[in-house]
């Protein structure tokens, strides 16, 4: 893989774990899912899509966020 693809994969993996944990917490810590929880889930997805668009069009903030996310994922020496 190219270094860019490796970085994209690492960012995606970190995003996936983060969003899964966030969704898990929303589902688990409530007495019943209501509209507010639905909007929270939609909001998280919008943030994720915003990040992907930001990365695709090389926005500075998205690149920095991507670097942070990628740094959480272990890579081979």
């Amino acid at each position: 893989m190219t270094s860019e693809t490796v970085a994209n994969v690492a960012e995606l993996q970190a995003s996936l774990v983060l969003l899964t944990v966030a969704a898990f917490l929303i589902y688990y810590f409530n007495a019943g899912l209501r509209k507010v929880h639905a909007y929270l889930l939609l909001g998280l997805y919008v943030v994720f899509i915003g990040f992907i668009f930001g990365k695709a069009y090389s926005f500075e903030w998205a690149i920095r966020l991507g670097e942070v996310l990628a740094s959480w994922v272990p890579t081979a020496a």
Binding site: M1, T5, K35, L41
Partner: protein, 302 residues
């Protein structure tokens, strides 16, 4: 013009996959009718919902013919998992409450804990596996074995009632009775359920419906891959990012009220483990050397 054509082809492929997934869902629902919703969701329904992504990833590797396109599979899987975990439950909750069907959706904490933790563990295992320099078929086998352990655990703890409970509704009818359209009309409308099930569903026609739906989904995936590649080239976007945006067509019944979150958690664990497990297993196996032009049994990742 090229971009418009690609977008049209992608939309058409997604429509075909969506309609075919309905047939797959009906067949798998019948074949797994003796399982509880939670277990059926994480096994048979999970297979049904991940068939398009599995085919897309597999065919992308075979048709596009580059090891780098493995990223296509990661993009497909991650995009699908995030969409399944966020958008589908959110839309279901809004619909259920908006239409006054229920005041809130109660979810079994036991199921959420089991499937949620299972999913997070699956993601961590995947990260660990992909973090190395190489992928072999053993990695694929490892992921699939993890899924077998997960399913075995679910079957061992299966009870008759578990999962999502809505506060005010009883149950939604699965198969509405009415006048059936002709076979030709059903085919044109991609309504495969009514092509194969004319009188009553049974094991034979359920299997035929299942296999035919899979075939159509596979063909539509080939169109999807070529269109995505075309669009990626025209727009100058990496294929992995582009793949995240396409909606993952899901069997319609997944959005029915009584399935929601519990089943979705299960349908996310399965694709992560088995889809990528199958990809590693097939792509890095000795059988794949020839068609993928690999020099060794290792798939270089970096």
């Amino acid at each position: 013009m090229v971009i418009l054509s690609a977008l049209f082809a992608i939309t058409l492929a997604m429509l075909i996959i969506w309609r075919s997934s309905d047939g797959f869902e009906v067949a798998s629902g019948y074949l797994g009718r003796n399982l509880t919703d939670g277990v059926r969701g994480a096994t048979i329904n999970a297979v049904g919902s991940s068939i398009p992504e599995l085919f897309t990833t597999l065919f992308s590797l075979m048709l596009l013919g580059e090891v780098d396109n493995f990223a296509f599979g990661i993009g497909t899987t991650a995009g699908s998992a995030i969409f399944n975990g966020m958008i589908i439950p959110a839309v279901v909750i809004i619909a259920v409450i908006g239409y006054g069907i229920a005041h809130k959706v109660k979810v079994s904490k036991k199921v959420i804990l089991r499937d949620g933790i299972g999913l997070i563990i699956a993601e961590l295992i995947l990260i660990y596996m992909v973090s190395g320099n190489h992928l072999t078929w053993m990695h694929g086998l490892g992921l699939m074995f993890t899924y077998v352990v997960y399913v075995a655990y679910m079957f061992s703890t299966m009870k008759t009632k578990e999962g999502v409970v809505l506060t005010t509704i009883e149950e939604v009818k699965e198969y509405p009775v009415g006048r059936k359209p002709t076979i030709v009309k059903s085919l044109l409308l991609l309504d495969f359920e009514h092509v194969f099930i004319r009188k009553q569903i049974n094991t034979l026609n359920a299997w035929m419906l299942l296999l035919f739906s899979m075939l159509v989904i596979g063909l539509a995936c080939i169109v999807l891959i070529h269109s995505c590649e075309l669009l990626s080239g025209e727009m100058g976007l990496p294929l992995i990012l582009l793949r995240l945006f396409w909606l993952q067509p899901q069997p319609v019944s997944q959005t029915r009220f009584y399935l929601t979150v519990m089943r979705l958690q299960g349908t996310m664990t399965m694709p992560l483990l088995t889809r990528l497990g199958a990809i590693f297993l097939i792509f890095a196996s000795p059988l794949a050397f020839h068609c993928l032009h690999l020099r060794s049994s290792m798939v270089p990742l970096a």
